[in-house]
Amino acid sequence: MSIAVEALCHTYHPGTPLETRALDDVSLQCGRGEWLSIVGHTGSGKSTLAQHLNGILFPDSGTVSVDGMQVVEKSPNMRDIRRAVGLVFQYPEQQLFAEDVMEELSFAPTNWGVQSDRIAPLASAALSMVGLDDSYLARSPLNLSGGEKRKIAIASVLAGEPSYLVLDEPTAGLDSWSRRELTDLLARLKKEGTGIILVTHDLDIALNLSDSILMLDRGRSAAFGAPSEIMRYLVANSVPGLRLPDIAALSAAIGRSDPAAPLTWDRAELKRWIKARETGGRRP
């Protein structure tokens, strides 16, 4: 059970002067209970790729499959595919439409044909997952704070009980506290068996929380692998628009003057090593 992309190519406006190759020979795999991060500069094709994962866009060549179902235009399985893959767009709060939060949260389960007596518990559960209580159900989404709107938008996707959750820059514009709340939620969902595919600029989140990372550069796959492999790649190669998080950059710089230093993005690990070096007196 996984989402698999093989040799995907996508060109916008083919055959016109605006023709742009957005994705070129990109492959990835993410199982249920795994966390894949897709990183890359603005315009690298991250959002285009995310939109292929539940049939908003279709490949020009190559394949996309969800739990063995091919994502192709007019697929008889399209309903099951869209139900399995919940997509949270960038700035999802801009798409809130309902008069109250309950209606917003009922939309997905109603569409999937969930029995009406099961919808209220689903809405309530989704709300509690994002840290809000039932008192929000009767409120208008338009009168909530920016952070609360983002949570409602994410809860409205969770209410459809997707097997995979694809999120496009969900932390953009959130303060550090809200960012932490959101990444904690994603880690919990992953543990409970949801596949997480996170599109992000934030390498700190990607390195710390992912099982694997796909790095895009101008529509092509620059690297795909475990966080440690991606870190080694970024130390050796410069990728436009991506910079190592500070701790990783510091560890790489120390490593250049002392090959014994660990190559790490983990603050505790780097601190332990610096303190050991200090007390060991290995350097003046």
Binding site: D175, G241, L242, R243, A249, P284
Partner: protein, 281 residues
């Protein structure tokens, strides 16, 4: 920053209640603050702390419910002062998309000075200087829709600079930018500060205040803390209480300072930390 510097803006015991606020809760309560000429002041706080409300007082977008806001000696309460106040204090907002009015880059930057009724030659030279400072001179003839988010935000800064205001207020200017756009904008802010501009920088990202002269923390509409950047960054528990997370490098710097005898930089910039911890380089 000179200690005897002139005061640019002063809030005197300002309370503000939004007229539409059903709760009647004050967004600012008894806030007093001075912004001094030439300083780069960081205004910090989590979402809902009142920092944007405070910023909007500095160029008379909001008028205090109680108390006074004085800009270069002029009260913002007097409608006759509003034009002069807005010429002295320019605002840059969070969303670059909402601040572009022109269809071509240099036309957009010219919008402010044109409204000030300046002669064309003066407008031209101001636009050129402003675009240069914002790193956009090469794009002056481009349609604005072709700019990236980061470039649009720099254009908003150029528009503010073309007004020739001595003080810039930026309200979470990097919130919607990618890491590259954020770094570019911060570099421009550093250059403006070096050139003598007064900058009020509203943010909740501690990694952006490393070059500031002074920091003010707001929580629940009140000033909770005021002082230098270094002592602020050492306040671990309090930072968390105010909803401000220390970035990993700041946390490492603070912990190494407490737990080892290492000579560390006064402010934890990446460059400073590398210099301190790579003795062989």
């Amino acid at each position: 920053m000179k200690t005897d510097a002139r005061t640019v803006c002063e809030l005197r015991d300002v309370t503000y209640v939004y007229p539409s606020g059903a709760s009647g809760r004050a967004a600012l309560s008894g806030v007093s603050l001075e912004v001094r000429e030439g300083e780069w002041l960081a205004l910090l706080g989590s979402n809902g702390s009142g920092k944007s409300t405070l910023a909007r007082h500095l160029n008379a977008l909001l008028i205090p419910t109680q108390g006074d806001c004085i800009v270069y000696g002029m009260s913002t309460r007097d409608p006759a002062n509003v034009f002069a106040v807005r010429s002295a204090v320019s605002m840059v907002f969070q969303n670059p998309e909402n601040q572009i009015v022109g269809t071509v880059v240099d036309e957009d930057a010219a919008f402010g000075p044109e409204n000030q009724g300046l002669p064309p030659a003066e407008i031209e030279s101001r636009v050129e200087r402003a675009l240069e400072a914002a790193g956009l001179l090469a794009k002056r003839a481009k349609p604005t829709y072709t700019l990236s988010g980061g470039e649009k935000q720099r254009l908003a800064v150029a528009g503010a600079l073309a007004m020739d205001a001595p003080c810039l207020v930026l309200d979470e200017p990097t919130a919607m930018l990618d890491p590259r756009g954020r770094a570019d904008l911060l570099a421009i802010m550093r250059a403006l500060h070096d050139g003598g501009k007064t900058i009020v920088h509203i943010t909740h990202r501690l990694e952006e205040i490393l070059w500031c002269d002074r920091a003010v923390v707001l929580a629940g509409g009140r000033i909770e803390w005021e002082g230098g950047v270094e002592p602020l960054l050492r306040q671990d528990g309090a930072l968390r209480k105010w909803g401000l997370d220390a970035p990993p490098l700041v946390a490492l710097w603070r912990e190494l300072g407490e737990e080892t005898g290492l000579a560390l930089p006064r402010i934890p910039t990446l460059e400073g930390m590398i210099d301190a911890l790579c003795p062989l380089q």
